[in-house]
């Protein structure tokens, strides 16, 4: 079991040791909304003590890296120092994939991976503690909450994590040859569940699968949260879907089933080769749509076709570029 206060202390200590003026650290701290953490951008050393790591650190901080690097390039004066980002193992794979997609430069990036044995979303924490909470603390693997009526509630965290945590295919560490890893045992211990959940594309017939997908997507209100929270969607602020200038656009702004299908088809087609199944799109969806249906299928696809999951090493080239001779035709 992870002792989160130790991990927080060790991470702070390490960050203080490597911090140079001009560096920018991306980490987590408490928000004043009970049950959710908020990303923290640190530009001075004193702020490092605000860093808090616990099972609620669900956001994938790599999504900010592509944007900050873009700002550096556009503003012409690259950040004086380094970008330092503290990530969980599953999010580390997003950073690795962005490096191999050449979206961020490896040389002025320092990735600090902290050990994690599963994160809890705000929704699952609320179900665990049986309702709205005023505050929550995490001690030796229990969530201790205080309800709105000032009553103490506690719950065990084991086995209550997000879809991605309980899916063995996704909870894994990329190769870390020159990144730092903070953990009590200093080696990665797999914490996900062993069993591989079956995919609906395999278990259901094509028509039932389409039916299930239509039901899920009919709830979508096209708020773009899944696109803007996705590290693989690094051109989300100049997306083909926001092109108002086309007289006949690729997609209209209608929130109807055919345009919702078009939206998600375009999105998952674009991220298919570099989605690292970090689970953020499913967590960020205000409508509770289980987007893991799509990313788990496409994530497995890359392993089947090219023998390597996306985000496993920062050197394998982008797979989308083009067909390589010798592969069989589709």
């Amino acid at each position: 079991m992870i002792n989160w206060s130790k991990i927080t202390e060790a991470t702070r200590h390490y960050l203080k040791s490597i911090f140079q003026p001009g560096d920018v650290i991306l980490s987590y701290t408490e928000s004043n909304t009970p049950g959710i953490m908020t990303p923290l951008v640190i530009r001075e050393a004193e702020a490092i003590d605000k860093i808090i790591l616990n099972p609620l650190c669900t956001q994938n901080l790599s999504v900010y890296l592509s944007e900050f690097f873009q700002q550096d390039i556009q503003s012409g004066n690259p950040a004086a120092g380094k970008w330092v980002v503290t990530v969980k193992p599953c999010d580390a794979r997003s950073v690795i994939q962005m490096i191999s997609d050449e979206q961020i430069a490896k040389d002025n990036l320092e990735m600090v991976v902290f050990d994690c044995d599963g994160t809890v979303t705000t929704k699952s924490l609320k179900n665990l503690l049986g309702g709205e909470i005023r505050s929550v603390k995490f001690e030796d693997h229990q969530a201790k909450g205080e309800t709105l009526a000032n009553k103490e509630v506690t719950a065990d965290l084991v086995g209550s994590y997000q879809t991605k945590c309980s899916d063995s295919a996704i909870c894994s560490l990329p190769d870390m040859h020159d990144y730092s890893f903070i953990s009590e045992s200093n080696r990665f211990v797999f914490h996900g569940s062993e069993k591989e959940n079956a995919l609906i594309q395999d278990t259901l017939s094509r028509e039932d699968c389409f039916q299930r997908v239509s039901e899920e997507l009919s709830k979508c209100i096209r708020c773009n949260a899944c696109r803007n929270v996705c590290p693989a969607c690094f051109c989300s602020d100049r997306c083909v879907m926001d092109k108002p200038k086309l007289a006949i656009p690729y997609i209209t702004k209608e929130i109807t089933l055919d345009q919702i299908f078009q939206y998600h088809l375009i999105r998952f087609y674009h991220v298919a080769p570099n989605c690292t199944a970090c689970g953020e799109c499913e967590r960020a969806c205000p409508q509770g749509i289980s987007l893991s249906i799509f990313y788990r299928y496409l994530h497995r696809l890359n392993k089947q076709l090219f023998g390597a999951e996306s985000g496993s090493s920062d050197s394998d080239k982008q797979k989308l570029l083009s067909y390589r001779f010798g592969e069989d035709l589709v």
């Binding site: 594309q201 078009q262 088809l265 080769p273």
Partner: protein, 138 residues
């Protein structure tokens, strides 16, 4: 021709087979041909838009990998079709709705046969009920 029997064919203009184009147009009324300067110009987002709007399928016609006029037009599209088909499958839509036919010289009859095969294959697929029922016919 209700829109749900339409098939779109992206034809690479570098193929320079005017006669083949004529025979396709005569023999297959349900195919709408879209000539593109290079088969690499094919963008699966267009195919998705056609399929979600109710078209039956999308075909690509270009040269065999290796003898592409622009060297890698068909290589790029081959990879795009792979991911487009898999994305459709992930959504419960038949990936076979998109198909590429790579042509090698002197095989016009083979092409027509492949197109017939594709049309018969997708004829069996159910109509996608995504777009609200056509308010007006045509």
């Amino acid at each position: 021709m209700a829109s749900n029997e339409l098939v779109f064919l992206f034809l690479c203009r570098a193929l320079k087979r005017k006669r083949l184009l004529q025979t396709i147009k005569q023999e297959f009324p349900s195919i709408r041909v879209i000539e593109v300067p290079c088969i690499g110009r094919f963008n699966p987002i267009l195919a998705f838009k056609m399929i979600t709007a109710g078209a039956k399928g999308v075909l690509l016609l270009g040269c065999d990998p290796g003898d592409c006029h622009y060297r890698e037009g068909n290589l790029i599209s081959e990879r795009r079709i792979l991911y487009a088909k898999e994305t459709l499958t992930a959504f419960g839509i038949h990936g076979s709705r998109i198909q590429a036919i790579w042509y090698n010289p002197g095989k016009d009859k083979q092409i027509l046969h492949d197109i017939k095969l594709f049309l018969s294959e997708i004829a069996r697929l159910p109509m996608l009920t995504l777009k609200p029922t056509q308010k007006k016919e045509g």
